[in-house]
């Protein structure tokens, strides 16, 4: 039994919140209309606000998933997720981080096997969008690393980087169904695609990556030196070209700094967060 100064209140609000998420539960005792009698219709306003609010939040975060399955299907799927996974935090930017895994195990979505991977791209997009700012190191800054030290330099990668791998052409499907795009038919058996999602300045970029490059960037992200990361990439593709890949990784702005043996850290300079020019159009 609950005791203490706030014991009774705790009990009532507990019943209230449980009944919001479970329509099978009755309106809590003492929750009444203006005549002092219980009113299911009035209590349902709170249920509706919570569930519709969560569906709208998911729709805003997963617009391509909604476009792929249509609004009615999306609403039903999002409602099923919302009542099983109510938010754990008041920060709704984070809500829906488990939606892709839910879609992957949601039986009615099984005829659309690539749907969960498209959802993973959309989630990575939102995460990159809200991730902390960091300024890419310039090729000139990186050129100050002595060539003989490059082998044991650890490159510090951009915090917004997200890597994904799909057995479906998920990036192509995502692009064709993003706002403003006109979808063409996609052969879903057309092979796997890997995605690099990153926001080096204001705009989130989504790119396809070759499998060896995916392994290379993934290993760098884990803290491998470029030569160790290249060894992993060579297992995927014996023709992996370290120099080409390094140039691309630096050119895309994925490197923000470097350190030697985990000791001295060098970071690219400047804070462009407050700069008006970097606001996306």
């Amino acid at each position: 039994m609950l005791t203490g100064l706030y014991g009774n209140m705790r009990d009532l609000l507990g019943e209230f919140s449980s009944a919001i998420l479970d329509p099978a539960r009755p309106v809590p005792d003492g929750v009444v209309g203006p005549d002092g009698l219980p009113s299911a219709r009035r209590f349902a306003v709170y249920r509706n606000n919570v569930v519709v609010g969560l569906i709208d939040t998911l729709a805003a975060a997963y617009p391509v998933v909604e476009r792929l399955v249509g609004a009615p299907f999306f609403k039903a799927m999002a409602a099923a997720y919302a009542v099983r996974h109510p938010p754990r935090s008041p920060i709704m930017l984070d809500y829906g981080d488990g939606f892709a895994d839910f879609i992957a195990t949601f039986p009615p979505a099984s005829p659309v096997p690539y749907l969960a991977d498209v959802a993973r791209i959309e989630r990575a997009w939102v995460e990159a969008y809200h991730e902390r700012e960091a300024v890419p190191a310039t090729p000139q800054q990186l050129a100050t690393i002595p060539p003989e030290r490059f082998g044991d330099a650890v490159l510090v990668l951009h915090p917004t980087i997200r890597l994904l791998s799909s057995p479906f052409p998920a990036v192509t499907i995502w692009q064709m169904n993003s706002a403003g795009a006109n979808p063409d038919p996609v052969d879903r058996t057309d092979g796997s695609e890997n995605a690099l999602i990153v926001r080096c300045a204001a705009e989130v970029e989504v790119r396809r990556l070759a499998p060896d490059s995916l392994f290379f960037v993934g290993a760098l992200q884990q803290g491998a030196t470029p030569s160790d990361a290249a060894k992993q990439a060579l297992r995927v593709n014996p023709r992996f070209d370290l120099l080409d890949n390094l140039v691309a990784v630096i050119g895309l702005g994925l490197v923000i700094g470097w350190d030697f043996d985990g000791r001295r850290r060098h970071l690219g300079g400047g804070d462009h967060e407050h700069s008006y020019e970097h606001i996306p159009a």
């Binding site: 919140s17 919570v50 109510p86 754990r88 407050h274």
Partner: protein, 292 residues
């Protein structure tokens, strides 16, 4: 209890809730508005375009920071991590004012994304005051508390809402945000008189007013059930109630809340200009009376 230090306060003009859809237009056209208000939780990401835009807009306009997730009316202890995030936003953006709701949203099952009602008893009064003291002490500033829109009542309540809020303001030194639409919605839903509500409200503590649109529905017995949806223009009866309030309080910073089914920017601006006209009519009326 020490008296909390007030933030600078908003200009006595109208403002609007800031929406991402309008960021670019606002920066390009710099409309003549008193302030913008943001939901604090929408700016709790670590970085990204929302912060870039808010920085740029904050350079031009005063900002009102409005929390929706603190759960001041809840039975759980306040979330200290969340309070820390609020304090970081206050330090970063130096808002002219911070406000939150007389409502709750956290419980054992997690967080519910709505402003839920609480019974008004001595027990809940003590809890809300403890929470407000804690927030004001933690932030080092006075906050404003907003009256709720409600769809139900609690049989165990022993206070009128207006008396409950007056007692909170007296005990904690908090300021008040009077949401005139919430008064109209809640009074209609409780079959009570909105004019009587505002006349009983502790108006001396009001530092800001909210206006917004509601959706009219009915309950299972055919009684009116207004839903606080913020998805349409302010209702004519709410404008009348607003004029009555301004007649009692004098001009106050006034926000137009429009959160879904967003209008075009010119339509939203027109709604704010309408509130500005009510504020300046009051000034004109008073000037005429003073010269008579």
């Amino acid at each position: 209890m020490s008296v909390p230090i007030a933030l600078p306060g908003l200009p006595i003009r109208s403002g609007v809730g800031l929406k991402p859809e309008h960021y670019r237009t606002i920066l390009d056209t710099q409309p003549d508005l008193g302030f913008f208000e943001v939901h604090a939780e929408n700016y709790m990401g670590a970085g990204g375009p929302p912060h870039r835009y808010l920085n740029a807009i904050r350079e031009v306009y005063p900002l009102s920071l409005h929390g929706v997730g603190l759960s001041i009316g809840g039975s759980r202890p306040l979330d200290l991590e969340h309070l820390g995030r609020l304090k970081a936003l206050v330090e970063r953006y130096e808002p002219a004012q911070f406000s939150e709701h007389l409502a709750w949203s956290t419980h054992d099952s997690g967080f519910l994304n709505d402003l839920l009602p609480l019974p008004y008893t001595s027990e809940t009064l003590a809890r809300v005051c403890d929470h407000l003291d804690e927030v004001q002490h933690f932030l080092g500033h006075q906050m404003l508390l907003e009256n709720p829109s409600t769809y139900v009542a609690f049989a165990e309540s022993t206070f009128e809402e207006t008396d409950f809020i007056r007692e909170i303001a007296r005990r904690t030194g908090c300021g008040l945000l009077l949401d005139v639409n919430n008064v109209f919605v809640a009074s209609t839903n409780q079959l009570s008189d909105p004019i009587a509500y505002v006349e009983r409200f502790p108006l001396d503590h009001v530092r800001e007013i909210h206006l917004g649109g509601f959706t009219p529905e009915a309950d299972e017995r055919g009684r009116p059930l207004l839903i606080d949806t913020h998805d349409r223009p302010v209702d004519a009866e709410v404008w009348d109630l607003y004029r009555h309030v301004i007649g009692l309080t004098g001009p106050k910073p006034t926000l137009i809340e429009w959160d879904s089914k967003l209008p075009t920017w010119p339509d939203l601006l027109a709604e704010a200009q309408r509130a500005d006209r009510v504020l300046s009519e009051f000034h004109a009326d008073r000037a005429v009376r003073e010269h008579a």
